[in-house]
Symmetry: C2
Subunit: 435 residues, 2 copies
């Protein structure tokens, strides 16, 4: 898909956005004064609500050792009998604050009161600045208007509502028999799942038992969100949640698994593509790994290399840096790569085999062109003297990836991982934005 | 030390540069045509030579699984009885080339012939582009003039000769009783020792047995070069070599150890300070770690965080990102940090304790000023439309670090690690320079 404008991208996203049966979403926003800074700020609330509580819900959270309060609350919610709503606020992540858990619970109580359910049936999520306290009273005052804004047609307002530094809303969906799976995601900087500040909500009307949904979510996450890296920082607040209204019975588990995996893999790539300062989406396909985890960790080692990421930014098919990055991988079981057997292809063209580089001036030109065609945008020299770089548009120009294949001949496991390059826009975004 | 100009820095460096007894150094340079690219290139050769062969030599090499040919040759040299010379070329790192080892050996043979020693008494090093072949004949043709340029007063020409993307030559020395330890280092991008493309040569006239020198080098490297990170990429070519001419007898081992460690720790910080696009040298002091390796890995986890590195670049005392980075540490023995006991200080000011942030508007202002005063330079908006950023000068403005202390109360081991921030100059350097 190519997109010419923000409007054409949004139209495409809205076409993915029909809600499954039994769901409604709404958002609202308000101004408030944080305790921690003099300036006024804006906060947006997003609500996903079900017509009735469901026991079919699943969630997976960050492995960062300093998790946010909503993650602590979320882990408790997993043990509850049922869920009826998810409430998300942006701007403040509610991490590292002494009153964090009770503040989250207070927000859930306000939502529960307006929806007529129990606070324990509300899952809270927060995303934004670490160390600041949630403005609980202000949030509570705005729940009324949040609930008033609920509608059951489109998930798109929620996809837009949960954004922080995202360039554009991210929605993917799949029809599975007579049901639907719809997913929304936010995430830009601070992205490296195991998981990362990414918030992902997967909604379906396909009836599925709780234990089955939890298993399916884990499988889909393993091959999608756990296989991406933008700036290799694990966030404090990652959440991937899945919830079914159980309206459509007669599940075909294989079709469900395939549909959920497809939605998750597409959303995961969207998160990378939308990453702070990403000019190229880099897909590393490890082929012939001894097992999945080896392939995943090796792929991520390549994806994380700042020297490789900057070469990609410069449309430079820098084979040396690829080899250097592969050479950095340390397997936990000390299995070694035999470089004499490794074959590396970039865009399908062999660049390394039989232990040495396979290069020529013509090949370099071909590969530079390949990289340039996969570029989402090039850096715009900043006009103002502050040297601040901004992405040129709030939509993806296309959905093409740069594909690097690394064939190891160490086994039969194939694993794909996705990441982005390292650019001036990333520096500008993160040396200035307070988060 | 503050430096106002390239000249004042070079004068200071030259004052460190007196060679120990029994050594001479020289450099030469020439133009050549690489096979891999049409344009002509420049190569510089550097030679460190001893008056007579010595058995007291030590070397430590990269742990990258795709090491350069000189590293393979160097590992063999460690088993030889004696060494008499070190020959270094820049421009081409001799990595990933089928004829690499025999090309290195051919260079050693040419040097040996001119010096009247054995090829096995010559240690080769190469630094530069990965994947290109050494221009062996051209190098051999220039050994004559290299040897002619040998002088026994100053190591400074060698410190300058081994540079590639370095901003300035790096020399540190220490008088120990009537002997000297002098060290030179190169390294800018692709820096993360265990070790990193860094070449370090430590020369001394203090008589020391080979086994003792090898032990002392390992200890000094552990607390210096193994504790730095610039862009978290392990190079293919790291080398730290130490060699004694054994001219001055009566070693005081404790004084030697202290002197060598001091030279290594200073050089290691110089390497960071000179790192590609480094605006701040960031020193993380982990206090009260259960053991050295825990402290080192935790410190490095903090140093590697791109979000923290960009905050530092922006003079932003971003406590949230510090906590997020600490939360990312995964101990191999699964020991956990108790955040309720952690105390964090930035520039001596407490910013986190008792499980929460300790912030105020005044404190933030104080800390921003502290960061600004430790800044080596700020980004210059580029004049030309290509958005290329360059450091403004080829000398360090000062030698101040940003100091972050993290007190864990998990043991009694204190470990310091050093790294740099992430800036526009790093992007420009690496999206353009072919290495």
């Amino acid at each position: 898909m190519n997109f010419e404008s923000e409007e054409s991208y949004q139209n495409w996203a809205k076409q993915q956005s029909d809600l499954p049966q039994g769901f409604s979403v709404g958002t609202t926003h308000f101004a408030f004064r944080p305790r921690e800074r003099a300036q006024e700020a804006q906060m947006r609330l997003t609500l996903i609500s079900l017509t009735k509580p469901t026991s079919s819900f699943a969630a997976m959270f960050t492995q960062n050792r300093f998790p946010g309060a909503p993650v602590l609350v979320g882990r408790k919610r997993l043990e509850e009998e049922s869920l009826q709503a998810i409430v998300v606020n942006n701007k403040i992540s509610n991490v590292g604050v002494a009153s964090g858990v009770s503040d989250s619970e207070a927000v859930c109580s306000a939502v529960a009161e307006h929806l007529g359910c129990l606070p324990s049936q509300v899952l809270p999520s927060s995303t934004g600045i670490i160390g600041w306290q949630l403005p609980v009273s202000e949030i509570q005052e705005n729940i009324h208007s949040l609930v008033k804004n609920l509608q059951s047609e489109s998930v798109f307002p929620a996809a837009a509502g949960i954004m922080t530094t995202d360039l554009y809303p991210k929605v993917r969906s799949k029809a599975v028999r007579s049901g639907r799976i719809v997913g929304i995601a936010k995430g830009a900087g601070m992205i490296e799942p195991n998981l990362a500040t990414m918030l992902v909500y997967l909604l379906t009307d396909i009836a599925i038992a709780r234990q089955d949904l939890r298993r399916e979510l884990a499988l889909a996450v393993q091959e999608s969100f756990n296989c991406i890296s933008v700036d290799s920082d694990q966030s404090t607040s990652d959440t991937v949640a899945a919830i079914s209204s159980n309206e459509i019975s007669g599940i075909d588990i294989a079709a469900f698994r395939s549909g959920l995996t497809e939605v998750c893999r597409s959303l995961a790539q969207d998160v990378v593509r939308n990453g702070e300062g990403v000019h190229h989406v880099f897909e590393v396909r490890i082929q012939g790994a001894p097992d999945f985890e080896f392939g995943r960790q090796l792929g991520k080692t390549v994806l994380r290399s700042p020297l490789l990421k900057t070469a990609l930014c410069g449309n430079d098919p820098n084979v040396g840096r690829i080899l250097m990055a592969l050479g950095n991988y340390r397997d936990s079981a000390s299995r070694e790569i035999d470089f004499s057997k490794v074959v590396i292809r970039l865009g399908g063209t062999v660049i390394f085999e039989k232990g040495s580089f396979s290069l020529s001036a013509d090949k370099e030109k071909l590969l530079s062109t390949y990289l340039k065609e996969a570029e989402l945008y090039a850096s715009f020299p900043p006009k103002e003297p502050g040297s601040v770089f901004h992405p040129p548009g709030r939509f993806p120009a296309h959905q093409r990836n740069v594909v690097l294949e690394v064939a190891l001949s160490l086994g039969s496991e194939d694993v794909s991982v996705w990441g982005g390059d390292l650019t001036h826009e990333y520096i500008s975004e993160n040396a200035d934005y307070r988060s």
